[in-house]
Amino acid sequence: MSITENNSLLSMRNIVKSYPGVIAVNDVDFDLRHGEIHGLIGANGAGKSTLVKIMYGVEKQEQGEILINGNKVDFRNPIDAISTGISYVPQDVTLAPTLNVAQNIFLNREYVAGGVYIKDKLMEREAKKILDGLSVDIDVKARVDRLKVSDKQMVAIANAISRNSPIMIFDEPTASLNENEIIHLFSTIVNLSKSGVGIVFISHRLDEIFQLCDRTTIMRDGEKKGTFSRGEIDKETVINLMIGRDLETKTQDNVVIREKPMLTIENLSVSNAFSDANLTVNEGEILGLFGQVGSGRTELLQMIFGAVKADEGKISINSNEVKINSPIDAIKNNIGFVTEERKTQGLILLLNIEDNISLGNWKKVEKLFLINKTLKNRTAQNFIKNLQIVTTSSKQLVNNLSGGNQQKVVLARWLNHNIKVLLLDEPTKGIDVGAKEQLYDLFDELSKEGISIILAASELAEIKRCCHRVAILKDKKIQKIVSLEKISDKEILSLAM
């Protein structure tokens, strides 16, 4: 692979983009060659998503230029980028919810007869072909808002791939996919690159990056820290460049787990959602829920929290049976739930940190029925300090925080409620390595203080790092509960698949 100008498919030079209070992209160069898979990695808030948004015309750079095949281009909106031949799969799945799969795949490129009449039947057939090519089985006539997350992801990917664009951008495409789907996606991507398509690939899963990418660019705090070819760099160095310091590989402390059962559930089930759940978590214990997408992790947590009312079974706190029919009951019993989708279920994005932390817990900061601003501020400051939330001020809108810090705000809210049991659903999803570690440390702290934690995750590494015991889930049932010291990785995976 010769590094000549002529080979350059896409070239970005001296790109600068800032938002109020932060420089998101600071004088960054990036280039993409024909037939190259170019990885882009960095911690959350490093600027990768912003950079690719500029590539696609979603945002406009303040300084710097973009060249496609050597020609300067000026993207005012995605329409311009599309016409130049760029496809984009954004990080958060963006589909038209009331249209079906086929209609979404061909959105704005519909087959029309006589320039007017949309041929839906034809589109459905073509969509099926595209999905087959990706080895994915989804009903093309299904309305997209009724699909599960991984299927939605695949539809977005199918949309991009079927455009046959010379340049493709994938932003965290594997976040919601299962192993099988990932394998097929990768083979498709590799095939595309072999046919000359240039691909920008963003992921926080380093194994994927190392496996796929011909070159990798690392960003940190809006700056480019380096571009390396395959084989030139190893995991440790990458992580160093990403977070600027050496990561301590933390071994699990042998914490004395208290024997006192905090939360017990017996025969808990919801028809069609989860059957016959039995488990116990002791005081200060971290219990993992491990399973693939669709195994029922979220459903189980929802049952415990009362977000979904259980049809049968009972829940006991401190050996006393309690009735949990709604989240209000759960909160009264000191149970907290950090949901999977923090942006839509956990936070009010347009409110600031202070308000999000005190949300629903106003009594604590009220004086004479009015919300006292000083109290609210002090509460927030405490948590910002204790949880090391990175922000310019406690009045910062939560929307502007990075993923990891947003998650900390959610945790702060629950800690503010004095919970004894904390339910976590994929708490580090979409969060960079450094922030992940901080959260893991936080969980350790909480367990030391006696709080019981149930941690649902699909990455085995996370379960192993954090948990004392693990409940393995498959097909909406608990398969086995066992101490992590007493079971091998292979066994866990085989029970879960």
């Binding site: 919810p97 249209l99 959105l107 029309v112």
Partner: protein, 321 residues
């Protein structure tokens, strides 16, 4: 369980499912049956002609409103466009222009107003509610100003033809105009990119944007088409009253929105059914007609209609689950 109970259960379930799926249409049929039972004149030809006339304008306006709501917005300028179209047509006619030209100019003004609505909404990012409310206020004022507050008479007798004049099969012209609008816009919304884009933008504006759909041009199109429909309704209004009143169609917006919502269109955008809107408009028209035939006081009529709307919306919610 005895055989008899089983049959009753199954029949009950069948009826229940029928109502669940065909909800509004079933309710409509039920209502008509009830009225024909209670009033000897409900099923008469004369009455059906009434209903056809009275619902024509509402159906046409409903279609326009459905398009704007489906695209994630709303349009409060309905009545004002109707009044203005009428006044403009009236002014042109009294100034000596021929009928066809006057009508075309009236329609053109409607389209222009709609385009302005769409432009303000998409280019300046003003919420549709506020933008169309502002347009409504200004148009009402303009109608009053250019007409000097007085109705405009002097429409040629032939103009009546566009309203209650009979076309084919002894049915009024207004009926056929409404029919044409239904057919054309069913086609547009279900099978053309205009409708498709509306559903996409209404469902998820960002998704539409990322797919390369031009939000500005499309939004302008939606509101312009909607206003065109309101103008057409304005022609029917004016023909029926044989005069252009600057105060025509006051407060009609709420009834149009009610018809649209009754028909299943979601207020949050992304979904609409033309057949639903048409049925919704018919339900409202028949309800009014039937209650008047039965001598029910107009205020109780309003109460009944309000209750019907609430029930219909609740039914839609349940069906959603």
């Amino acid at each position: 369980m005895t055989e008899k109970t089983k049959t009753i259960n199954i029949t009950g379930m069948k009826i229940g499912t029928f109502f669940k799926e065909k909800g509004l249409i079933a309710a409509f049929i039920l209502m008509c049956a009830l009225f024909s039972f209670l009033s000897p004149v409900f099923l008469s030809v004369s009455n059906f002609l009434n209903i056809a006339l009275q619902s024509a304008a509402l159906i046409i306006m409903g279609i326009g409103m459905s398009l704007t709501i489906a695209s994630g917005g709303i349009d409060l300028s309905v009545g004002a466009v109707i009044a203005l179209t009428g006044i403009i047509m009236g002014l042109m006619l009294t100034a000596g222009f021929n009928l066809v030209v006057s009508i075309l100019v009236g329609l053109l003004c409607g389209v222009l107003v709609g385009a302005i609505n769409g432009f303000i909404i998409s280019k300046f990012k003003v919420t549709p509610f506020i933008a169309t409310l502002a347009t409504y206020t200004m148009l009402r004022a303009i109608a009053l100003i250019i007409s000097d507050g007085r109705p405009i008479y002097g429409f040629p007798v032939d103009f009546r033809f566009l309203g209650s004049g009979k076309l084919f099969f002894n049915l009024p012209t207004a009926f056929f105009i409404a029919l044409a609008c239904i057919i054309i816009f069913y086609f547009v919304i279900e099978h053309t990119r205009i409708g498709r884009n509306a559903l996409a933008i209404g469902g998820n504006k960002e998704a539409a944007r990322l797919s390369g759909i031009n939000l500005v041009i499309n939004t302008i199109t939606f509101y312009a088409l909607a206003a065109l429909l309101y103008s057409i309704a304005g022609i029917i209004y004016t023909a029926r009253l044989n005069a252009a009143e600057p105060i025509a169609a006051m407060g009609v917006e709420l009834e149009v929105i009610a018809a649209t919502v009754l028909g299943g269109t979601r207020m949050e955008g992304g979904y609409t059914k033309i057949s639903g809107t048409v049925t919704g408009a018919l339900v409202l028209a028949v309800l009014r007609n039937g209650l008047t035939l039965l001598g029910v006081q107009s205020y109780y009529q309003q109460l009944t209609i309000g209750v019907v709307i609430v029930l219909a919306v609740l039914a839609n919610q349940i069906r959603k689950k």
